[in-house]
Symmetry: C2
Subunit: 251 residues, 2 copies
């Protein structure tokens, strides 16, 4: 089937937050991102626009497929070298109920979609599920965030809160009572801190200001940097912490 004019207009509108809000859908571009979507929420797919090349890369011709010529696809794609596949899907609802996994990763006002995507991918690779965030963070369903995260958003359980304090309260109600804030300057070493990943919340702040929110009774954890130079960003810090949880789980 061909892409209708209405579908084309929707694809373009979904590059803005307003367009997503009005339609309740998001764009999901790239082979791996579309695979995550098809694995986790096949029922939410409205349609998939793809070039012949994109279908080949996907390895399957999915339902609700719209075949688009290369030149027309270029206008729709958010990237210079596209993979030739974009899905439009209903935005998944926020997660609710019991927490899955060992800890909650919480992003406090993390504004960069590239960092968001990197953190989401580290969390996914580590087999954890809960990615919570506060107002002021990037929209996880934005075009760039999905591309940067390669669609792992669709495999994670995300929840949004107005403030870090509300986030901490919600976690506590679900039995995740210990709050650890990643801090470049103070706190116990993340390699020594006991119980760091045992029913806890690990909070990462947006660079360069770190965590701005306030959470009562939070402890600080620090990534030791013998180079005496703070040069790692929020995504690198989160990756170190997330894989420290993997290391401990294998001891």
């Amino acid at each position: 089937m061909d892409l209708s004019r209405r579908e084309k207009a929707l694809l373009l509108a979904l590059t803005t937050r307003g367009g997503r809000r009005r339609s309740g859908c998001c764009r999901c571009e790239g082979v791996r991102a579309v695979r995550e979507l098809l694995t986790n929420f096949p029922e939410k797919v409205r349609f998939i626009a793809a070039t012949e090349r994109g279908i080949e890369a996907l390895g399957t011709a999915p339902d609700k497929l719209r075949i688009v010529p290369e030149r027309e696809f270029e206008e729709l794609s958010g990237t210079v070298n596209s993979q030739g596949v974009i899905a439009v899907a209903d935005m998944p609802e926020m997660a609710s109920g019991a927490v899955q996994g060992d800890f909650i990763l919480a992003l406090d006002q993390l504004g960069d979609p590239g960092n968001f995507g990197t953190i989401a991918r580290s969390l996914r690779a580590a087999g954890q599920h809960e990615l919570w965030y506060t107002k002021g963070s990037i929209d996880p369903w934005g075009d760039k965030a999905i591309r940067s995260g390669m669609g792992v958003q669709f495999a994670l359980r995300m929840r949004r809160f107005d403030t870090l304090e509300e986030l901490a309260l919600a976690a506590r109600e679900l039995g995740f009572c210990k709050i650890f804030i990643a801090d470049p300057h103070q706190g116990e070493s993340c390699f020594k801190q006991q119980g760091l990943f045992e029913h806890s919340v690990i909070v990462i702040g947006g660079e360069p200001n770190g965590v701005l929110g306030v959470a009562p009774d939070a402890a600080r954890v620090m990534i030791p940097m013998p180079g005496d130079y703070e040069s790692i960003n929020a995504a690198q810090a989160a990756t170190v912490l997330i894989f420290e949880s993997v290391r401990r789980s294998m001891e």
Copy 2:
């Protein structure tokens, strides 16, 4: 002093590899990058172009300063939101002689400047020094690589080789005989491998193909991913390995 026409032309020419080769200089943009340069190679600075705002951010008025109006600076900057400071410096020579630090991080055909910068920053934060790379990797003195690395290149000891085999041979001659190749599919866990950072070379490949080069007697190390989904990139993998060395050094 004002920026001469010749200096302006040089600044623009240095955004290309050809321009750097012809002049023997590189551009170094951003407050932190210029600070690294002034700390490590002040004698190599040819001039620094900065706006009033850039000088304020730098916190000092360095020698060889050229004050540039905001509007003119915009044409020179490689970024949309510039910090108002660019230095032009002679490109540092390749490192030589004895290896400093516990291990060598080697990049095999790593093509992405963003990943390069992230890896360089993790290495700098961890207090290690040796960053070696093979032909086919990004030019560390390129404009994007320096911005992404925030100039930590100037604090690292870099060496370039045509092939991974030559790199391994050079390392061996300097007493760094164990070669470990980061591999997504096979090898001992990086959290269990003995002697991983003891006079060794850790090789990271460019995504998505991993390490393409061949090194005799190399062992494979793997970052365990309980999520059963390979979604981390070369920069994340390098960051996990680099901070595992920090963790071990603190045991």
